[in-house]
């Protein structure tokens, strides 16, 4: 597909929204699984991504290993540091995205700290992501205030822009971030970095409610989610549940098969009680 074809679709579709809506039509929340690109290798990231999709993930988040991942805890840091040490290059993320989108129906987003995008050029990065079949970007250290270039490029190439909202977000910032987002809004469940935690903070529910109140149709909760019970708890009030560290640990300890098994288990928590799906306002 040429850039012109992609551009002509801009604004008309959101792959992430479509994937979340597909789950919603099945009476459940969407499952979003995170994997770092190039860990333990590019082919294994692709294989693990396909395993995610085949076992119940609706969206897949591919992280770009970065030298200074301030929002990541120990497990993901260790994985991305290893990927970099093995020689991972940013342009390989497009191979990973294409490798997964060519084999599955999952929407594939890239999660990246901002400097690698700046270095390649925001327009160039966006063009290549769209050509690889990517759905958009999740940007943990880019706030809408600084995103003028990305807003333009994401419109040009029809990409979703997933910004984060946090328990500390003021009503004004919540509104601004929801308005700037496309596809879904990423609700940070706790004040902290990535990593499995034994319980989901009650703050998560409040953040989701605030995002809904600001007009967000699709809100997905991430940080600290690692078990089917936690997925079930969040699926009761959010359109999607994001799991990262637990999947990376599964890949580390048991390879692609373990990723598939954990995904299958997590997906058992997705069913929404009747009525809630409507309440969120489709």
């Amino acid at each position: 597909m040429s850039s012109a074809d992609i551009a002509s679709q801009a604004g008309t579709t959101s792959k992430s929204a479509a994937a979340i809506d597909r789950a919603r039509s099945q009476g459940r929340s969407a499952l979003i699984g995170y994997l770092p690109a190039g860990y333990p290798s590019v082919p294994e990231t692709i294989a693990a991504g396909i395993a995610l999709a085949e076992n119940g993930a609706d969206l897949i988040e591919i992280g770009i290993p970065y030298s200074d991942p301030v929002m990541d805890g120990q497990v993901i840091q260790t994985a991305t540091t290893e990927a970099l040490a093995k020689g991972f290059h940013v342009s390989q993320v497009f191979d990973v995205v294409a490798g997964i989108t060519s084999k599955t129906d999952a929407a594939v987003l890239v999660m990246t700290y901002w400097n690698p995008v700046v270095r390649m050029g925001v327009d160039e990065f966006s063009r290549r992501l769209a050509e690889a079949g990517g759905a958009g970007l999740i940007t943990p250290d880019l706030i809408p205030d600084e995103a003028a270039e990305w807003m333009a490029a994401s419109d040009k190439y029809g990409l979703d822009r997933v910004f984060l909202v946090a328990p500390s977000s003021t009503p004004e910032r919540m509104q601004r971030t929801v308005d700037a987002s496309r596809g879904f809004v990423y609700a940070v469940s706790i004040m902290g970095v990535t990593g499995a935690r034994t319980s989901v903070s009650s703050a998560a529910k409040d953040v989701v409610a605030a995002a809904h109140g600001a007009g967000a149709e699709r809100v997905c909760v991430g940080l600290g989610v690692s078990t089917a019970d936690q997925v079930r708890e969040i699926a009761a009030y959010a359109e999607g549940v994001i799991v990262g560290t637990a999947l990376v640990a599964a890949l580390r300890d048991g390879g692609v098969d373990a990723v598939g098994a954990l995904t299958k288990d997590l997906s058992t928590g997705l069913a929404r009680e009747s009525g809630l799906a409507q309440e969120a306002g489709a």
Binding site: V70, T81, V118, L142, E146, F163, S168, M191
Partner: protein
């Protein structure tokens, strides 16, 4: 937040300066195309709170009186402006004056910033401060301010630096701080900042991040500069009083750039004063082992600000190298990037060897042991002075250069002793020196 950066801000502001506009008191968040807030949303509320608290405080006479009192009666300000007559003979015969930040309590300019930020932390009702440190200077200063003001203090320091600078770790612990060795990433200063940011995200309701340099997300660059502006204000008043005129040049070393922006600020609007920032050239900029961020870096975002950055083609941060731990940082404050682009300040690299030669020269000509960081500024002043003399030998003796002597060199004695081969091979100090020199 103010307006987004515009593409031609640099040129318009440079023109405004040339036409009599001011470069002083730039409020941020943007300095031309640099600065801003490239930060997780989780921290934006805390940055807003800090900005608001800072803006109120600097307009509050009580706060300004508190700072003035601490500067005078705790830090020992104003610091002296000392003419270095014997040293000057090696700088083309140009007269060199030293702004003696080495005489401040804790031995460097760092105290100016930590006292100001610790006061702000108390104003915000925060009970805990966290800080990053390379060799330990900012960590020691932070621990000092925390002890003075009754705040809990946690310092993040690369695990390798903890080992190499065991005495500074002990110093911080004596002052009541907890030092956490950082084992993530490259285990250096930039990773200490990363871990401090991770701590801040998780504990932001009780904790202030006391960043040690004029970098990071808004309001840090403008705020840290504010607390160091006293250096330039004093220096300008002192040279006017002592010599009745402004200097021809001002020199400072640049890591993140806090001592430099502090002294530069006093002279930014004096067009006759040439301003020079000296970056760490390490083994030489051609070797790749250096920290000459503005000289060889490219604009990018790191630790919350857009600025020049040492990075590879993928946007991954490159590890910096310098004999001076305080300059060993792959980023630089955004206001320096801006001042470089508009041509107001000239930034040049100084190698480890040039800095160490200047270090020894100041020891032997003036009886002052400078920090190795500050020795980069001394080496730069020698070059600037020699250039002035080459251009116009007859007038060299009437020229004046002010060097910001940002810190004392007591902390660097082991490194210097190893560099100059002054130690008995079997001594314990020789071992420490070897470890220090790997910086």
């Amino acid at each position: 937040m103010a307006q987004a950066p515009s593409g031609n801000a640099d040129n318009t502001t440079a023109e405004a300066f040339l036409q009599g506009g001011s470069l002083r008191h730039a409020p941020g968040p943007y300095f031309g195309n640099y600065g801003g807030r490239w930060m997780p949303e989780s921290l934006i509320a805390a940055l807003d709170e800090l900005e608001e608290t800072f803006n109120k405080a600097k307009d509050d006479p009580d706060f300004r009186a508190q700072i003035a009192d601490l500067n005078k009666n705790y830090s020992g300000r104003p610091s002296l402006l000392t003419e270095a007559k014997r040293f000057s003979q090696h700088a083309g015969g140009v007269r060199v004056f030293l702004k003696r930040e080495d005489l401040n309590h804790t031995g460097s300019h760092k105290i100016n910033n930590v006292l100001g930020q610790a006061l702000l932390a108390k104003r915000m009702g925060k009970t805990r401060i966290i800080a990053e440190t390379g060799a330990g200077q900012h960590g020691v200063a932070s621990a000092t301010a925390a002890a003075l003001m009754g705040l809990e203090c946690v310092v993040y320091m690369g695990a390798e630096d903890c080992r190499r600078q065991a005495l500074n770790v002990a110093r911080m612990e004596l002052l009541g701080a907890k030092v956490i060795p950082v084992t993530s990433g490259s285990q250096t200063l930039k990773d200490a900042i990363n871990d401090a940011l991770r701590d801040w995200v998780a504990n932001v309701s009780t904790t202030h991040y006391l960043l040690g340099t004029a970098a990071g997300a808004h309001p840090f660059p403008a705020m840290v500069r504010y607390f160091h502006e006293v250096i330039g204000e004093e220096a300008r008043a002192q040279i006017l009083e002592q010599e009745g005129r402004l200097p021809d040049a001002v020199c400072a070393c640049i890591g993140g750039g806090s001592n430099a922006i502090g002294i530069f600020h006093g002279f930014l609007d004096d067009p006759s004063v040439k301003i020079y920032g000296f970056e760490a050239g390490g083994d030489g900029v051609e070797t790749g082992r250096h920290a000459a961020t503005i000289t060889l870096g490219k604009p990018g975002v790191l630790h919350g600000a857009r600025s020049y950055l040492m990075q590879d083609d993928d946007g991954q941060t490159i590890e910096s190298h310098s004999i001076s731990a305080g300059l060993d940082y792959p980023g630089v404050g955004p206001e320096h990037s801006y001042l470089a682009d508009i041509g107001r300040v000239s930034y040049e690299p100084i190698t480890d060897g040039e800095a160490m030669d200047a270090f020894r020269l100041l020891c032997r000509t003036e009886g002052i042991i400078p920090a190795i960081e500050s020795s980069h500024a001394l080496a730069g002043a020698i070059k600037v002075g020699q250039r002035m003399a080459a251009e116009d030998p007859a007038s060299a003796g009437g020229k004046i250069i002010i060097v910001n002597l940002s810190g004392r060199g007591d902390k660097d004695v082991a490194t210097a002793a190893e560099w100059f081969d002054l130690l008995d091979k079997n001594s314990a100090e020789s071992e420490i020196g070897k470890e220090g020199e790997q910086l």
